[in-house]
Symmetry: C2
Subunit: 424 residues, 2 copies
């Protein structure tokens, strides 16, 4: 990202200065090793290995943190803010984990911390939540926040296995050699935590958000989704409940084919917002990549520059609401469900399964038994339910798993309702 930012700052220097209303110069860059060969514009950038040449330096107005990781990046940023510098960061993990702390430090120092690039670099969602929706009340925010998993799930929908799709994503540079952060849903949970803070004023750590990734998805589940009129997507979703809490989670979902989120292609991100005044709005664009992320960082640098020039630093940190609602218990989440069971083919099996569901107050929408593969072989039953509390569903699943006639662990996927009305 550092290289991308430097490239944009050099390539579009005149227009950037014109739009910021002030000369913006990249003067110093902190590096581990000054002698290492680098690609990209050298310009008049002085390389240094001394942090104090940048953080707290009198002649630097804006510190751009692109080093990643938790420490020392966090310490550098709080030190810079305390010294009266404006901070721009793309560090999703830090903003997710310590965003409130950073904003407080900025507010105290009458400076700003900008982090547009931390969530969906190609979509100006941070700006939109901070400014455009400032007078509005968000009731739901649901997004495809991880491009890697969106790419993999789309490839699986086209018939590839999980392993094949992951390899393809790695070859294209979408997925890391260790893809855990992406495929586990944790990357999306980090981003959701940031969006929740801006939408609802919560300070909920990503680790508290119920999260499941895409590693358990199978070819059969993808086919069932298509047969039933859905598209499989990893959604990160948060919404207000009637009790005033926030229901949040990151899970694979069946998304109805007509819904805007169902057709988001490739490694794109998309964010669907429901708010009191606007109703539903959608923001779609590239989620990652050097240029989109670099562009978001530079947009922040321009805004920071304008605020330096206009003597209006600290403007963004004014009036940040920070005593938001609590997270709802995950068992209280309500949605429709898809279930696929592998059962022995003998009389009464379906009856015993549906009895458990009925006991837990779960009402079925569709039931569909697949033809047996051979005589005596187990068969698959595919079911969808009407809206059901997650707690009831989990209880039913535990009971169903224990039935003698059920061969494998049930496969389950949530069904997205899209209206924002399904999670109450």
């Amino acid at each position: 990202v550092g290289g991308g930012v430097a490239e944009i700052l050099e390539k579009h220097h005149a227009i950037i200065c014109s739009r910021a209303g002030v000369r913006i110069e990249l003067t110093r860059a902190l590096v581990r090793n000054k002698r290492r060969k680098r690609k990209g514009p050298a310009g008049d950038v002085a390389l240094t290995t001394k942090v104090s040449d940048i953080v707290g330096a009198d002649d630097i107005d804006i510190v751009v943190e692109l080093m990643g990781g938790m420490e020392p990046a966090l310490e550098y940023m709080t030190t810079a803010l305390a010294a009266g510098q404006t901070v721009v960061t793309a560090n999703k993990a830090i903003v997710a984990e310590h965003g409130a702390k950073l904003i407080k430090a900025a507010s105290k120092a009458k400076r700003d911390v900008h982090f547009e690039a931390a969530v969906a670099g190609g979509i100006p969602i941070i700006r939109t939540l901070r400014e455009a929706l400032a007078s509005d009340q968000v009731s739901q925010i649901t997004g495809i926040l991880n491009g890697t998993t969106n790419y993999i799930v789309e490839a699986m929908a086209k018939g590839r296995s999980y392993e094949e799709a992951l390899s393809a994503a790695q070859e294209l540079g979408f997925a890391e050699a260790d893809p855990t952060l992406d495929v586990s849903g944790r990357d999306a949970a980090d981003k959701l935590s940031i969006l929740m803070g801006l939408s609802f004023g919560t300070t909920i750590k990503p680790s508290k958000i119920p999260t499941d990734g895409i590693t358990k998805l199978t070819k059969e589940m993808m086919e069932d989704a298509a047969d039933l009129g859905y598209s499989m997507k990893l959604l990160a979703s948060a919404q207000r409940t009637e009790e005033g809490t926030i229901q949040a989670g990151v899970f694979p979902y069946f998304v109805p084919l007509g819904h805007e989120l169902s057709a988001v292609p490739d490694a794109q991100n998309a964010i669907f917002v429901m708010s009191d005044s606007l109703g539903s709005t959608l923001y779609q664009g590239p989620g990652a990549g050097g240029l989109p992320t670099g562009s978001a960082v530079v947009a922040d640098i321009i805004e920071a520059g304008r605020n330096v020039a206009g003597k209006s630093r600290g403007r963004l940190s004014i009036g940040v609401v920070r005593k938001g609602p609590k997270l709802a218990a995950s068992g209280d989440a309500v949605c429709a469900w898809y279930l696929r069971l592998n059962v022995l083919e003998e009389p009464g099996v379906l009856a015993s399964v549906t009895k458990v569901l009925a006991d837990e107050g779960i009402s079925l929408a569709t039931v569909w038994q697949l033809p047996p593969v051979g005589p005596g072989a187990p068969v698959d039953i595919v079911m969808t339910t009407h809206e059901t509390r997650e707690g009831a569903m989990n209880k039913a699943l535990r009971r169903i798993s224990k039935l003698r006639t059920v061969c494998d662990a049930p496969k389950v996927v949530r069904i997205y309702d899209g209206s924002g009305a399904s999670n109450r």
Copy 2:
């Protein structure tokens, strides 16, 4: 809109003040008649019929113009700016016609003029172009900018006649009693002119933008669109050409069914932006209506309030680029075309038509002759072309119209390419 703004300001007063970091009070409202009964919050708003109670008044920081029309609204706004007040307006026509003048007046007075509500109230596109895309270079901006026509065209796609669809839109309050501004495409051209100014730095009057509305669309054209895999949409589009000019226009288009703009429903708006760093991004939301527009006005008021509190007025007007490229000649626009001809059923007709097209260098993609309605009756030929300069197409159409065997004026619709590569 005035009522909606007052309602939001009252209903969300605490959160608005908190987000602006300063108390925001609606104190005075200019009205024609103080005694007329009004709906909505009365609060402590003093009604006045004297402009000078508001415009130029010492105790008013922000003047919100929601009266509409050209004069005296424009004069009030320039007077307010000169007197050191910040202006928020939803007046699309004024910003389209005199935006550069207003921004200059604001810049001179070190104040700002905010106009998020002037284009697609429910989509923060002004903010996005001013800030998020500030470091980027926009190459194309294409939008569904008029909800009324989107509603009508969608209803026609479902089989209604133009008149039926228009009546339905009027009953639902989407369309005015006199719908000319909407259905002629002129409303969309006003908005496109504003977006072009922000995207490319142009100062092109809406009347200079080639514009055609939806009044000539027929049932057959809608059916052909569906049969050929397209959705009909009124698009307002502008893009950079290789010559450094801007190709712009408002026209009905066949939009490929997979493209994000093809599925925008009801009276929603959507804006598709292609830029160097981000690639393609999409913004979709409600285009009009009291609450979305009111919400955009209040977002502007909050930003204006923050800038008053932060002593950073004039910040937005810093560095506005205003010597942009020129409009390209409309004949130079390049796109694929759909044609429907009503011709006599006699030998050689198709040959004479295709000869004209070949003469003008137009290459056909598909040709499709419909079965005759009865013996001797004229038949319809449906054709699509490969990419063709508009000038060549117009010349061919003039020649085809003059052929003895062609009964009616040819029906033509542009085909949207979506990649931004089609208009060169």
